[in-house]
């Protein structure tokens, strides 16, 4: 896509914007690229063929636009927020627990979707997702999303488990042995949401509307479920590679997990598969957001367009075991991803996934009486400690 076409499209958009009177600060017209671009991203999100020559979605962009990409990787959402607060970056691949904090803190700017021609190809389900759209304004372009699936050993489960109960309740597994010591759970406090999601299905009388918005009573019920789970779990997982090792060497046969681990284990020939059981699942969704003081706005817009139009979405979804924000990336052969691959990563299960948001006390569904995240942290520590 040449700069000329972009600026042409941009001027059409400008005409539209004058009528809309959208955000005052956002860019209304693209100029030439500034020659560089600084991005804060999750590890593995921006590959330039150095890890594996097959996976490269950065060098092509640099060649076409002249914008040299500098990547700063961050390992947690908090690091991302901290880096963005510090400044000096143009873009960030923010997850649902960071994106609204960035918007509320005024660290990111509204994105003029008219300057991103491929915006029209973005998954309709993501276009106005609440984790980047505030008051009808888009604060970013959707990047990748994925479910937290139930991973299981196919030698023990000849048929895929239909419910999360295999990791929440003591039971006999299909091989006739108990599940005690053979299942795992995530060690992050956000796992409380998985318990709440399970209760939402099995105990509707609790009135849980969202697993991230729990009042005291609902929260206690979720903690009780987790206390029962503690008796089944020998070790909680934290690191994806340790979990894979636990499935191969530690006799673990079922656990909540990411498609990332499932794909790697499968490709190594392990008897592993995954499923989203009847209760649905929790998940994550990332958004490319633009710093409010971005020094390279033109390159930033060019990059946002690049994420949606190039091989990036397709190859990254193979690389990361995630789903592209542009559905066509699964099928049109722009990269290595195929329709089957997307289905395996959970592409068709969007409606059944409840995306990660930070629990706050002011919540719509429970009259602003929700238990905030810091209590999830201290109480989940207690649960793991056997309290």
């Amino acid at each position: 896509m040449s700069t000329l076409t972009l600026s042409f499209l941009g001027s059409i958009a400008l005409a539209g914007l004058l009528v809309q009177t959208a955000g005052a600060d956002m860019l209304s017209k693209l100029g030439p690229g500034e020659g560089q671009l600084n991005i804060v991203a999750w590890p593995g999100y921006l590959e330039r063929g150095e890890t594996d020559p097959k996976f490269d979605w950065v060098s092509g962009f640099e060649k076409d636009t002249g914008c040299m990409v500098q990547v700063k990787t961050a390992n947690t959402s908090d690091e991302m927020v901290a880096l963005m607060n510090e400044g000096g970056f143009d873009l960030v691949t923010a997850s649902g627990d960071a994106s609204l904090r960035l918007v509320a803190g005024g660290r990111v700017q509204e994105v003029n979707t008219a300057l991103v021609p491929s915006w029209k190809h973005v998954d309709e389900r993501l276009k106005s997702a609440p984790w980047h759209t505030v008051d009808g304004r888009h604060y970013g372009v959707p990047y990748m999303w994925g479910p937290n699936v139930l991973m299981f050993n196919t030698e023990v489960f000849k048929e895929a488990p239909t419910s999360w109960n295999v990791v929440f309740e003591e039971m006999q597994l299909p091989d006739g042995k108990s599940n005690v010591g053979r299942v795992q759970a995530y060690d992050g406090p956000i796992h409380v949401a998985d318990a709440a999601n399970y209760l939402m299905f099995h105990q509707p009388e609790l009135g849980i509307q969202s697993p991230y918005e729990l009042n005291q009573e609902q929260y206690e019920a979720a903690l009780n479920l987790l206390r029962g789970q503690r008796k089944l779990v020998s070790r909680y997982w934290h690191d994806a590679f340790i979990q894979m090792d636990d499935f191969t060497n530690e006799g673990v046969v079922a656990s909540g997990s990411w498609p990332f681990q499932v794909n790697i284990l499968k490709s190594g020939g392990a008897p592993i598969a995954s499923v989203i059981p009847q209760e649905g699942a929790t998940g994550w969704a990332d958004t490319t957001m633009m710093h409010v003081d971005s020094e390279n706005p033109n390159c930033a817009y060019l990059w946002m367009e690049h994420t949606l139009s190039s091989n990036l979405m397709s190859d990254l979804s193979v690389w990361f075991g995630a789903n592209p924000a542009v559905p066509a990336a699964c099928t049109d052969g722009r990269g290595m991803q195929t329709a089957e691959g997307c289905t395996a990563n959970g592409m068709d299960d969007f409606e059944r996934i409840r995306f990660w948001t930070t629990p706050v006390s002011k919540c719509a569904s429970q009259n602003d009486q929700c238990v905030p995240y810091y209590r999830w942290v201290s109480d989940y520590i207690g649960v793991i400690g056997g309290r």
Binding site: R235, N249, E250, V360, S361, V377, R387
Partner: protein, 318 residues
């Protein structure tokens, strides 16, 4: 030094200029010279090191608002009261117990090694001993911990060895012990303990060896001459004289175990240690006051520990 001499020459010959004046001033006032030499290190120690500690201490006297999750910047003991709730006491107790167990065990394991290295190993063997003790410190800490995870796993080498020797009944008995046992070695406190012991052992052996080397051989011979049996010699001569070295080593093993948050995350039953709790309270949770208060705990424990160690003369053996 030579510049001072030059300045002396110059002042003798009546040299002038700002540099010469400075040089003269430093020469006449040694106190100023020392002050200028020390100002940078002291600033570093004061601002970067103590400053961050005090910032931490201050944070721990703030509290988090129950409702909004925002930090209230007012003095309160609330966070310390929260520190005393059963969940946090569990974490502190667990960490201190582990650190104590690791320290005692490494003292027991390290003593014969240090004794042999100090008393019997000669020439090439001595070099070999040094190398063997130091070698684990040359490879990455993470690599060692991951390797131990594979050794201790349910389907790992150790389990295989026990099974081949038809001793797996023994292992199962060990793992059946409540609390410290578990589903396999790598998910039990026993596993965490073994890895801590392995990783910190060199820090115990080296100061201990230094202390034992300093015990004069003729003291031991005199003890034997006076009819002391080997045990009595050990108990009443060697051990008291080597004690400062043991305490010096224990400072390392104890404080390192107290602060570690990686080993218990990779090996063990996922029950949190102090370091891990600090890590999870800061971050998205934003409960910096509680994280700070938890950090103060090991600081206080180590302060007491060091005070006792100093009284026992442990710092002479470092």
């Amino acid at each position: 030094m030579s510049s001072s001499l030059q300045s002396l020459n110059r002042s003798a010959t009546g040299a002038t200029g700002p540099l010469a004046a400075l040089s003269d001033a430093l020469w006449r006032r040694p106190g100023l010279f020392v002050f200028l030499l020390l100002v940078l290190p002291v600033l570093w120690l004061g601002i970067v090191y103590l400053g961050s500690l005090f910032a931490l201490l201050i944070q721990s006297f703030f509290s988090i608002d129950e409702f909004s999750g925002m930090i209230r910047h007012e003095f309160t003991w609330k966070t310390y009261r929260e520190l005393l709730n059963p969940i946090n006491l569990d974490i502190i107790g667990r960490t201190v117990l582990m650190a104590t167990a690791v320290t005692i065990a490494s003292a027991i394991v390290a003593f014969p090694i240090a004794y042999y290295a100090a008393r019997y190993a000669q020439g090439r063997w001595k070099a070999f001993f040094y190398l063997a003790i130091m070698l684990p410190l040359w490879s990455s800490y993470l690599v060692k911990v991951y390797a131990w995870k594979l050794i201790l796993a349910k389907e790992g080498i150790l389990n295989w060895l026990f099974t081949s020797l038809h001793l797996n009944g023994l292992l199962e008995m060990l793992l059946a012990i409540p609390v410290i046992g578990g589903n396999s070695l790598s998910v039990s406190y026993i596993g965490t303990f073994l890895v801590f012991l392995y990783v910190w052992l060199p820090f115990m052996v080296l100061p201990m060896q230094a202390a034992i080397e300093r015990v004069p051989q003729n003291y031991l011979e005199a003890s034997a001459d006076l009819g002391g049996n080997p045990w009595q010699t050990f108990r009443h001569v060697l051990l008291p004289l080597a004690l400062p070295g043991i305490i010096a080593g224990s400072i390392f093993t104890f404080s390192l175990t107290l602060g570690d948050y990686i080993i218990p995350q990779i090996i063990g039953s996922s029950r949190l240690f102090i370091g891990q709790a600090v890590y999870s309270h800061q971050g998205t949770a934003g409960n910096i006051p509680l994280a700070a208060a938890l950090t103060v705990v090991p600081v206080v424990i180590m302060a007491v520990y060091l005070w006792v160690a100093k009284r026992k003369g442990a710092f002479d053996a470092l």
